[in-house]
């Protein structure tokens, strides 16, 4: 393992200290926790928006803390859900009396830890609502399984819910908007290389020199298939078709597109993927309102990408376009 770290057991702490030191006018770390909050939290008259999860997905989620997006991000150990006591601290730090929305990616550990924190917060008299993001179309959704995973599409939930909260909307309204995004966003990813959790010291899975994994999760969970490397066009087509099969877009529909790098993919390659994606959407007469190309939700140093589509209507467009001032996303 070759990594730019000091001690595998201190990576999250060291990262958060470096982050807080870099942006003292925007963020602060709650003392004794792995929680990053807006420097001005709690913001009066505003619903608090909290997300989080395992670390290793930077800039998610602390990179989205700021005006117009999140009030706090709870950072777990690498690829491990944060514990309820930490989530509770975040909730308490951002609640201004208007309640708090938790944006949770659909993983068993995350859901349980955040739900438990929500119960503890409610016991302390704080109003809490939850939304669970499950945008990954690579895994089957069924009432008998854990369901689909939450991946890069989560960033759209942060953006829309955060914009509405910034306008002073009620907890119910912010929750409804977040749920609307979840219903309208779909994603799928693929990996060229695996990644190594620092404390584990070796890659979480293996891929041959000419092998890729299609439908992979952001922790290297198995996807649909391991296959031989193909061209960017073919890969983009596979991912986008699977997404389109699932969301039934019609001619004239408007979408936001995200081409997300998983940590070790050159921007050049992401643009190459987007070339095909934009061509395919144009051919289907689906209107692209805005495209985001870059690293939004990574998986340590995994090479690969994910594609997300968010189906838009007028109200979502207004919130997507609304101002945001965070480290990782500005509007």
């Amino acid at each position: 393992m070759k990594k730019l770290i000091n001690d595998p057991n201190h990576v999250v702490n060291d990262m958060l200290e470096g982050m807080a030191a870099a942006y003292p006018n925007r963020l602060r770390r709650l003392p004794g926790t792995n929680v990053i909050v807006r420097h001005d939290a709690p913001v009066k008259g505003k619903v608090g928006v909290v997300s989080g999860g395992g670390s290793g997905h930077e800039p998610a989620h602390a990179g989205y803390v700021g005006k117009g997006m999140l009030d706090a991000a709870v950072c777990g150990e690498v690829f491990t859900s944060p514990t309820p006591d930490q989530v509770l601290e975040a909730i308490k730090a951002v609640d201004s009396g208007k309640g708090v929305l938790l944006i949770i990616k659909n993983y068993t550990g995350d859901v349980m830890n955040f739900e438990m924190a929500a119960e503890l917060a409610e016991a302390e008299g704080i109003n809490v609502a939850k939304v669970i993001v499950n945008d990954d179309v690579a895994v089957e959704d069924s009432t008998f399984t854990t369901g689909r995973r939450g991946i890069a599409g989560t960033v759209f939930v942060h953006k829309i819910a955060g914009a509405l909260a910034e306008r002073g909307a009620s907890l119910e309204e912010v929750e409804a908007a977040a749920k609307k995004v979840v219903q309208n966003v779909r994603s799928m990813g693929m990996a060229l290389t695996p990644c190594t959790v620092p404390a584990a010291g070796k890659p979480g899975f293996e891929l041959g020199e000419n092998e890729i994994e299609v439908g992979i999760g952001i922790h290297g969970e198995p996807g649909i298939e391991k296959t031989a490397i193909k061209t960017a066009d073919e890969i983009a087509e596979t991912l986008l078709n699977k997404i389109l099969d699932d969301m039934k877009l019609e001619k004239g529909d408007r979408v936001a597109v995200m081409i997300n790098g998983l940590g070790a993919t050159p921007l050049m390659e992401l643009y190459i993927v987007n070339k095909k994606v934009s061509e395919m959407l144009e051919e289907k007469q689906i209107r692209i309102h805005e495209t985001f190309v870059g690293e939004y939700m990574t998986s340590l140093e995994m090479a690969g990408c994910s594609i997300s589509l968010l189906k838009l209507d007028d109200s979502l467009i207004e919130l997507l376009d609304a101002p945001a001032d965070t480290i990782a996303l500005k509007k």
């Binding site: 491990t80 006591d85 739900e115």
Partner: protein, 204 residues
């Protein structure tokens, strides 16, 4: 049989011994079908529990189990933290104000723990989780209406081994579908250790 603060502390201490000894085994089970941190997480959590409760004095079982719960919630992480944390939190509510619990009261508290686990994990029997150990064990104790802990521990072992046959429907192993068959569920294994420790704590 009387179950008081002393017995509960002994239960946790023996459970911790088992978990420390089986740390590697639990981790290996989890590496096969999960994310490979169960042994590490449980060992860290129960070590903290034992240290936390060793020196403290407790007026009642409720406050002891509340401390156990809060420590597990904060220190275990993953999915097992909230699951075991909820289990002990429910026990703490069921035993609030009680210095000692008789068989019926302790069985009711364990029953509350199972309800908590099911509510938190939204799992039922047959989904390859710790519920596959807890549910049959509680059925047995409920029927006997007495703490036949040795028999319960044996049953827990049998049910843990039975999870090998099951296909995972909950937790990270569920992504593996049929590939999860042939492996013992790590949560059922740590739950067996808890019941084995309870038997030793009460019957020596």
């Amino acid at each position: 049989m009387a179950f008081g603060v002393e017995q509960a502390k002994r239960w946790m201490s023996i459970a911790n011994d088992h978990i420390q000894q089986q740390k590697q085994y639990l981790t290996e089970l989890d590496q096969a079908i999960g994310d490979g941190d169960h042994g590490l997480n449980m060992a860290r959590g129960f070590q903290e529990v034992v240290e936390k409760i060793a020196s403290a004095n407790y007026e009642d079982l409720g406050s002891l189990f509340k401390d156990i719960s809060m420590t597990l919630i904060a220190k275990v992480g993953g999915a097992s933290g909230p699951l075991y944390g909820t289990a002990f939190l429910r026990m703490s509510l069921a035993l609030a104000g009680k210095k000692e619990a008789d068989d019926k009261e302790l069985i009711a508290a364990l029953e509350a723990a199972l309800d908590g686990i099911k509510a938190r994990g939204k799992a039922n029997v047959g989904e390859k989780t710790m519920v596959d150990v807890w549910e049959p064990v509680m059925e047995f104790l409920r029927e006997k209406e007495s703490l036949q802990v040795k028999e319960a521990a044996l049953l827990a072992k049998e049910k843990m081994e039975h999870t090998k046959e099951l296909e995972a429907k909950k937790g990270r192993a569920a992504y593996l579908g049929k590939r999860s068959v042939g492996h013992i569920d790590p949560g059922s294994a740590s739950s067996h250790l808890l019941f084995a420790a309870l038997a030793e704590a009460l019957e020596g």
